[in-house]
Symmetry: C2
Subunit: 274 residues, 2 copies
DNA sequence: TCATTTGAGTGAACGCCGTTAACTATCGCA
DNA sequence: TGCGATAGTTAACGGCGTTCACTCAAATGA
């Protein structure tokens, strides 16, 4: 564990330079533009030299994908840490940071969240490993939901239904990578993450173009709906929830002024409740 | 408009053969395996001959993507027509058909719903055209939702919020491709289609592997939740909805026996209400 | 019927690409 | 000082999209 030798320093610097070149090509020309020859050309090298550092182009792309997962996870963790102690605020901030990164980095998003191309299969195959960057990223949203659940359980589908649909060993991979979690929390995470992913992927992949001009407005609307659901008290406590009778609390039912003018994100939702 | 000449028949047959070869390569080896040389080789031709039929490989892939959109749309329309007159049953059947096709055809799904690669940019650019296969496909879910809304308005976010978030010209592309639609219907479609897309894309793209083993169980659970929301009467009619106080009607709150054993799809949801 | 035009297809070539093999020079260490 | 590991080179193979010049058969028109 001593200081890395000179050789090791040079080697890791070259690895970083290769990855930087790969990412630059990814950004400018899409994943198809990432080629060993172009990377080597930009570095003033020849292509076969890269084989001293990566066994194939596919392995290089997989390593780049792992780095991108880590970069995005660190970004979201930093956003969470800056959002204060309120779990709902943390979720809102992380969701917005996720969308912002994805929109600003469509090529990177496509690489790690798009279709597994032959250049990505080796990466996907390792995803069952809990230490895998993909699994570590996926679990980053769970903690705020768990905190929220422990403080004040939110409205979920009935536990019997959840256990019926998600029981047995169906959540075993999640347990392996994140430990035991209440099935309600697991469902809230899976449902919320799926909606978040769907919204952002459809925007980045231009699946909204034929229908919607400003995907951000729809994104903010869905954020409000999901957090409203997370803030609604569960029906088990009482037959008449305190803040209305539906899934939409008073703050979004129009009884009070709308929380924002429509331009830009509205104020944090958790703060608007108290 | 008379009978196509012999030349035209031969030409369209060759076009079809080229597309068939392209799709075969797509299925067996992914989108990267689709190459003019391989297609021509399988046809007993040489690669430059294909340029008599398509101006580039990218154009060929774009044409294939258009065909896939149409194939999937026809499949969903057929599923809808076989699902009876109940709009909720139609939505359930179409959603299951969409997932089944996507899981059975991951490469095709990746091509039309995945990241826009250089081979797909030309296709995406044309998506604002209402006659574009992508737009025609996207609109296929709107009709059942519109039928349902006209018969019995469902629970939506408050219209003021919807108009604030989706008003102005933000839904202009959707209007161009499908005509005028109530903003509540547009929201229900966008929200529901996004959730459906997110669920299926995450399953097909192996984004669930680190957390869940049976993505179908989660899919069915989310189907139940979404249709429960669609079947809940809107809060504007009365302060106390007839079938409970939350977003989950009695049929999924566990008061009645669960609708299915957990293996395979549950019975149609709309039928279970009456 | 025959000349002409159109269209389909071929072969060679250019410049990319990933990958392998054989070889060389340099660096670090005993 | 010498030796082994390491990082790099050049050359080559096969595959790719694409272009160009060319051939040949089929449709067309006088």
């Amino acid at each position: 564990m001593g200081a890395p030798s000179r050789r090791e320093r040079l080697r890791s610097a070259t690895v970083a330079e290769i990855k930087d070149g790969a990412r630059r090509l990814l950004v400018t020309g899409g994943v198809d533009a990432v080629s060993l020859r172009a990377i080597a050309r930009d570095m003033g090298m020849t292509a076969p030299a890269i084989y001293r550092y990566f066994p194939s182009l596919e392995a290089l792309v997989a390593a780049l994908a792992g780095d991108l997962y880590d970069e995005l996870r660190l970004l979201l963790e930093a956003a969470r840490d800056e959002a204060g102690a309120e779990p709902v605020d943390q979720l809102l901030t992380m969701s917005r940071a996720f969308r912002a990164w994805s929109v600003a980095h469509p090529a990177e998003f496509g690489l790690i969240f798009g279709a597994p191309s032959p250049g990505r299969n080796a990466f996907v195959d390792g995803c069952v490993d809990p230490d895998h960057p993909g699994a570590r990223f996926g679990a980053v949203f769970i903690r705020p939901i768990l905190d929220l659940w422990r403080r004040s359980p939110f409205r979920t589908p009935p536990p019997e239904l959840l256990r019926q649909r998600l029981g047995g060993r169906r959540l075993e991979p999640l347990r392996l990578s994140h430990g035991e979690v209440p099935v309600e929390v697991a469902y809230a995470f899976l449902s919320g993450w799926t909606r978040l992913y769907g919204l952002v992927a459809m925007e980045v992949f231009h699946q909204f173009d034929w229908a919607v001009t400003e995907a951000e407005a729809l994104f903010e609307l869905e954020l409000e709906m999901f957090t409203a659901q997370l803030l609604a008290d569960p029906p088990t406590r009482d037959d008449a929830p305190p803040t209305g009778d539906g899934p939409f609390p008073a703050s979004v039912t129009g009884d009070s002024p709308p929380p924002a003018t429509g331009d830009g994100p509205p104020p944090a939702f958790g703060a608007a409740k108290g």
